[in-house]
Symmetry: C3
Subunit: 214 residues, 3 copies
């Protein structure tokens, strides 16, 4: 009973760590894809299953990256994080731009991929990346984007004691300006030349203004 | 190893607490919507995403409330409990009536909503409610419904030590007659005038008769 | 904090036990249904909900057994394991054959069903079964199949201290030849004459060759 209380306490902490706060990169929270690099062509040409190419129609659609069934509730079992529920970006470099529904001061980005041990080919995971932000209304040429954070997504073997979910990696953003558009640039991947699979990135931050809707 | 056994024991208890028993308010268990108040009109007029109005087509359909993908397995990660997977009932008062596949003596109703911390606008959660039951074949006018329980759904901050899932709230029903129709009345919500989001209510009870099907 | 570390350790072990390794019986991992016995006819004749017959259209389709939304991440909350997400095989005996995308030495099969306590009719669960394997290119008549393992799926009451998920049952395969086709034969079920519900079987094994795709 006492142990039950302690475990509940720890479990709650674990859930909250994963749940975090509102994820502004979800379609259901008003995010929309405004631009993106090419989808892997082998995905476009095939409606039938093609192993190690692209398996499902969702991989043709960049919206998979911000899909509304990306659960906010829990990383572990979110359908959006299921094997194959990713957008197949062509090549090992590319980008996706997302318009937010709010003016946001970004505090944290969380890059999600599936665990190595269930993946038949982890080389399509992203590696080097940059996250940029801009404010629309300002000029929207490329120059208006400011780098919020850059880093590397690492494929880990599930080994570390500290990490329950080593495939979920958090990157802090400091001194973010107010932005309403995010550009997620993939600079390299884990070795697959043909495509990179992007599952999801959670985006947390502080709203610039209180909500005005009644 | 000993700790592992204890934790398994506690986890199993937690799972069972959440799983409970058969949920008779699931479409997959034979439930069907027979009547309901108005869907929020802004949901009807828009096929495109409209933030803080209605985000997805499922919000047009009261069946979302008893959707077959409402997992019986676990509350925490059920897709039916994902952000936005609710029916947008117009206003802060309304109702939904559900016909069950069984004659049931109701023992418990469990109202589910999403956690406050992932919601961009928690004011659309229900507050005051009544759950009524009736037996079809008896007159089905409003007078034939009997109040099973009334109460308030509370938005909690995730603070209490006793609750792993404070957004899932259980209401006991005592001395239920045999019923085959449930009426869930929303009397107020958490402050949003335009609509109320109803995710799901689980309904547990004792069957009047053993199953006759072979 | 120390307890938190220990619990994380145990939780990780539990996750990995469930996640296991790559599940080669998933469509998203290249598996495809090549043959199967009859679907329950009452499922075919009804597009409307018919309680205790067949509730959803997915039950018409054997692909539900290897569905791409069968999460590899976790058993507990996988949508593919949700109530009703099964293929309704006619009668209490039948089979399904699945072609794999890899030459595999099978080491383990994991039969999944829903927990008894949330099922309104557990009699449609499988009981006696055999799992066979064959190598295409060899003659593909029945004679070419070799029995990998036979056993019984048991409906358990959730009672044992050792089992967090008594509805998920693992069967070891010893001395498997290289196979690329699996035949899952149901020899009996838990008492339902009309049909047997098959949710999913996970298949683990060692690949014969390293992946050649770039
Ligand atoms: K996704
Ligand atoms: K729902
Ligand atoms: K399934």
């Amino acid at each position: 009973d006492d142990l039950e209380k302690q475990i509940k306490h720890v479990l709650r902490a674990l859930f909250q760590e994963r749940i975090g706060r509102i994820d502004w990169l979800l379609e259901v929270n008003g995010a929309s894809i405004t631009n993106h690099s090419e989808t892997f062509p082998a995905c476009k040409n095939t409606s039938v299953f093609s192993y190690l190419k692209c398996s499902t129609s969702q991989q043709l659609n960049p919206k998979t990256f911000i899909h509304s069934d990306v659960a906010g509730l829990s990383m572990i079992d979110s359908p959006s994080m299921m094997l194959g529920n990713c957008w197949a970006m062509s090549g090992s470099q590319g980008f996706v731009e997302i318009r937010l529904s709010k003016l946001l001061r970004v505090t944290e980005a969380v890059i999600q991929h599936i665990p190595k041990r269930i993946s038949p080919d982890i080389r399509s995971a992203p590696r080097g990346f940059r996250i940029l932000g801009s404010l629309s209304g300002a000029e929207t040429e490329e120059g208006s984007f400011k780098v919020l954070v850059e880093g590397e997504y690492e494929v880990r073997e599930d080994a570390s004691e500290e990490e329950l979910l080593p495939h979920v990696q958090t990157f802090a953003v400091k001194n973010s300006p107010l932005v309403d558009t995010i550009r997620y640039e993939i600079l390299s991947n884990q070795g697959k030349q043909e495509f990179t699979c992007l599952y999801h990135m959670r985006l947390h931050g502080e709203e610039a203004t209180p909500m005005v809707s009644s």
